[in-house]
Symmetry: C2
Subunit: 232 residues, 2 copies
Amino acid sequence: MPWLAQTPKNAVVNEICDRIWLAVVQRTLRPGTRLKEEDLAEIFGATRARVRQALALLEQDGLVTLSPNRGACIAEPGIEEARDAFATRLHVEQRLVTRLCGKITPAQVATLRTHVARERAAHQAADSEAMIRLSGEFHMLIATLAEGELLHRILRTLTIRTSLITAMYQAKAAQTCGPDEHGRIVDAIAAHDEVAAIAEMTHHMQHLEAELDLSDRAQPTSGLRKALLGRG
Amino acid sequence: MPWLAQTPKNAVVNEICDRIWLAVVQRTLRPGTRLKEEDLAEIFGATRARVRQALALLEQDGLVTLSPNRGACIAEPGIEEARDAFATRLHVEQRLVTRLCGKITPAQVATLRTHVARERAAHQAADSEAMIRLSGEFHMLIATLAEGELLHRILRTLTIRTSLITAMYQAKAAQTCGPDEHGRIVDAIAAHDEVAAIAEMTHHMQHLEAELDLSDRAQPTSGLRKALLGRG
DNA sequence: ACAGGCAATATTGTCAACGTTTTTGTCAAC
DNA sequence: GTTGACAAAAACGTTGACAATATTGCCTGT
């Protein structure tokens, strides 16, 4: 049940989007990779029209770039864009946490705790796909409980983009945020401790960003001009 | 030169989106109106595929709702969604203004002043289309100068949605925000006065929201059940 | 006369084929 | 030996037609 689905109208298209996203965050698909419509159509056993719809959606989410008459590539956000994404997402997450602290119910706390428990289980089982999915889902769950349809949508896009950036710039393989930090966030929210919750969330996001290599040399994988020339 | 264009790849699709948006904010198209693909195709002299693309984009922006096998309607955001949209947009605008205050240059101030002047001209000429366009463009210009690609995109969506809400719930006909308030915002930004700029922007947005009739009785125009029955 | 089901119509969803643009490989001229 | 243009191939964009689905009007049975 992927949290990617924005409008669960067409299962096939969502499936394609989900697979591509998963391949990107699992680093199976490297940024800059060209995505030929026909190949994707054959791979997923779908028609080209469906693939085209999926690519259009993924472009909206900033996961692929769509050039006219050139086709689709996995997007390659630059360093500036990476920082922008994290900064914006941090801001949104802070606001969501603030909201949620004010109106959290015991039942909602239980929901969050259950989710973190599932994350822990996936972590111990070393199920990387589940870890990735649940990690993202945790933040979306906060947005859902905070009850802001728009903020929810915004966070969804930002989460997708930061996922891509993490897969792109993170040196070490262990990319998914550990369940412990999520647990601490839940604790603070459950205690209605707004400042602590914001602090934990901020720490969490900064931890994520700190693990990236956003130095200048870490240029986009397939920048070509930037990769070969000294980023003129 | 519509600020609606998110990806200026296809002129025809953008044209369609722009026209529909304009018709909505000008209250020519009422919320709930069904948009038949074939009719739109004939109206705009385009093919149905193009219309379909445009509708998909407009759905992303929350301007139309797309039901499977039912087609497209102009969206009818409820009161909760309306408040949500204004609250979210206010927050984003505040952040943008804060950012811009820190790094505004004289040239950028000049750009803003020029824009406000154009707004004033349109206001005096009673050119309603230009007023609407320029009003939205002003806020997008702030986002552009503030240099946050993501916030820019977010504000764009929020502006579109608040436009729809304004057209939907505003009682009086004079809907576009007057140039004076924009002028005061620019003054505060030009003076690097962060608190004043935020205050002006907040006042501006609250003024916009205050002119709406968001009482419970003001149900969506074409709610059918809600419109005919006493909102059971 | 009314309710329920059935068929006709209208509208959207899907697909396969065609035209256009870009890319790449080749060849001739300098 | 290199450069430039040209042609072949591949990929995308577009079109039109066909199938699936929802709505509407009608008809029959009670």
